[in-house]
Subunit: 435 residues, 2 copies
């Protein structure tokens, strides 16, 4: 007996950029895995399932993978916009974080982020923050797959008063969560300008020892690149490379200001990149050399960044923005076609996070992480082609989200936890902040 059977779907397996829609198609799910999928005519008449979902008029595709966020920052969503970067950070975000970040705030605000992502068809997210154990707990309670990374910074941080303890604190977090099947623990060095060479090397040694990913914000702004050059005589990428920090378990976030040499180094080391176009645009930091990364086969995923700089967590919007931004930036309409963008948000993210054996496409044997998206709406009518998912769809079009074989959202209602309670808790926190 199957656990879940999806029928009559417009099936988009995304096993490659060329993979076409199978219509009408089915997906069989048993436990946390995809058992079989294909055209309806191939569905064995004897197949029985505890639950059958009729996906007529819906696209069924792999859940989207958000390669970068700081989930608890939902509390600071739209708190201060349209400001110079340093004013925004130093006068608004950092003081708000210093005052308001507690384990309870982290739990509830991360859970709100989880709700937003589940409702937009995101089935896996890579997060980095402090009190990351509370983020991990919120995602676990929400049923959201995640790579949860404890922050490392050479300043007193929420939950890590003494910076000398920052790598050990991350190591303890990783040890505590190593056995979980839904949450993969990791570490997140904030950046080359807030982590000393010694911290970076210790963090890399620790994550190597524990077999986890090391994330880092890298080459986000021109100022950062200039400062790194002035301080170390090297670009941010070369600085990390000289420290031995770049390898296939390093995930570099942003990578806007890279030269060709930097790109070659990332490719040679097998390091992955997460690009966050909406955040990069809103903060006006620049446009990442994405096509240059892809032509070097650097694993690249797509991320929203946090609600403080986006200000939302909808990867469908992120896909549409990526496709448009790189076209106008290159003044070439064939740059970053929609099917390549769909790959970034699914298989690309899985590859960047080291999860490509488990998620990122609809493939028998992989985890059953998928979304059902309603195409019977005006903005998706007619549905000539799957590119419309990039150029016209939004997370709001997602009707059902399935993670690890579990239906976590059905008809836009979150089943895994009480959304109203979560919104209420975050509003209380926001009211206190605004008083």
């Amino acid at each position: 007996m199957d656990d879940l059977l999806i029928i009559n779907a417009m099936l988009l397996p995304l096993t490659s950029a060329a993979a076409a829609i199978i219509h009408p198609g089915f997906v069989r799910i048993k436990g946390d895995r995809i058992l079989q999928l294909g055209a309806m005519v191939r569905l064995d008449a004897g197949v029985a399932a505890r639950r059958t979902l009729d996906a007529a008029g819906m696209v069924v595709m792999p859940g989207l993978i958000n390669g970068h966020t700081h989930a608890p920052m939902t509390l600071f969503r739209g708190l201060a916009d349209d400001l110079p970067l340093m004013t925004w950070l130093q006068e608004h975000i950092f003081p708000a974080e210093a005052r308001w970040v507690t384990p309870a705030m982290v739990y509830w605000c991360a859970k709100l982020a989880a709700a937003e992502m589940l409702r937009a068809g995101t089935t896996c997210v890579a997060d980095g923050y402090f009190h990351e154990e509370a983020v991990a707990a919120a995602f676990l309670d929400a049923g959201l797959r995640a790579v949860a990374a404890q922050g490392i910074i050479d300043f007193p941080a929420p939950g890590v008063a003494d910076p000398a303890d920052n790598v050990d604190a991350a190591a303890r977090f990783i040890e505590n969560w190593r056995k979980d099947t839904l949450i993969r623990p990791a570490a997140f060095c904030h950046s080359p300008y807030t982590c000393s060479p010694a911290t970076l090397q210790q963090a890399k040694a620790m994550t190597r020892r524990l077999g986890t990913k090391l994330f880092i914000h890298l080459a986000e702004t021109r100022e950062e690149a200039d400062q790194c050059q002035a301080r170390f005589g090297l670009s941010p990428v070369r600085h990390l490379d000289r420290l031995g920090v770049l390898d296939s378990d390093t995930v570099c976030v942003h990578c806007v200001w890279l030269d060709n040499g930097d790109l070659d180094i990332l490719a040679a080391r097998g390091a992955a990149v997460i690009t966050c176009p909406r955040s990069n645009m809103k903060l006006a930091v620049g446009t990442a050399p994405l096509t240059e990364m892809l032509s070097r086969n650097i694993p690249v995923g797509l991320g929203t960044d946090s609600c403080a700089s986006n200000n939302a967590l909808d990867l469908f919007n992120e896909m549409g923005t990526a496709a448009r931004l790189h076209k106008v930036h290159s003044l070439t309409p064939t740059t970053l076609p929609a099917r390549q963008v769909l790959q970034l948000a699914t298989r690309g993210g899985a590859q960047a996070l080291g999860l490509e054996a488990e998620i990122g496409s609809l493939t028998p044997g992989k985890k059953a992480d998928l979304l059902l998206l309603d195409c019977q709406t005006p903005e998706l009518t007619p549905f000539h082609h799957q590119d419309l998912l990039v150029y016209a769809a939004s997370g709001h079009n997602v009707r059902n989200t399935i993670i690890n074989g579990r239906l976590v959202m059905e008809n836009r209602t979150i089943l895994s936890f009480d959304l109203e309670e979560t919104m209420h808790r975050v509003r209380e926190l926001a009211d206190r902040l605004n008083r």
Copy 2:
């Protein structure tokens, strides 16, 4: 007795960029007009209304004004993406138009566009196409306010077999629709490269005589600007100016490739501009000098362009894209702040279309065109500031749309016509096209 009373709203009148939210607030509507608005404490206890809407947890703001689309092109939504501009136009869009554009196609596909816009809180749209009488009929049936402009081009066009008749055909259309209160007729010269100097001058003389707007696509691509220079020795703006076509009733769409002299001419003539950032990005034509337009007090509105190049008609997405694009283009995060973008999509559009006395803000005496947007959703929680409408909201968050005092959408259901029938008709047309 009032016709409609909205209570408990987060009221955003947008009478100026500085206007703050009034919360909780009320709006009184009588007939097609706003009678009064203000804080709930000012609502007279004796006020009675035939219908009361409780807008608790909702933003109530002016309906958005879409300054540019070709509504019937919903049929071609996503038909061909990611192609070089000329391949896209000449091998896909033009042949599809030549084959499939009929009055019935125009009616049903424009009605689908109307549905999409109503559901995204758009209450007024400026459209340009052929068989525009069918567009006007569709908008009228949908209850959508519009400036509907009959296309003028020096080639045989749908409904205008003989180009020598193109200006007269537009004149007949305008005469037929002059008396309507919801639909304002106008003319749309396709471009300086598809309309001869004589056609442009005749069209301008005709629209002057009839007291209507003349629209034109202008300086969209670098190729257009270069060709105009080669052919006439002038930039597109200077070419139109020498022909006497630019005045305060000329609406120039796109205006991506302008120099400072062009901008000064537009400002001196009082001509208006509609900017379409998502279309400009997707077609990779460039980034319009928007801040330079605004600093010269050129009236500027925001447009989606058609579904063939966007591929959707959601002005909330257009606002977010505009705010982000101009920041990253200028590498300055203070460029085009959210409150300026909200003005572009409301008062700016009204001013560009010559409707600022009637619509564009919540003001007693103006037409009752407004939207109610639900803020009780994860992606809009917490709601620290109205800037979130630009950076996190989507048309999907709109619950109710009111045009001319009439509730045309309630709880996301279109009341003014049968949406299912319309989608069915468009799907039939798409099926025929795909066979």
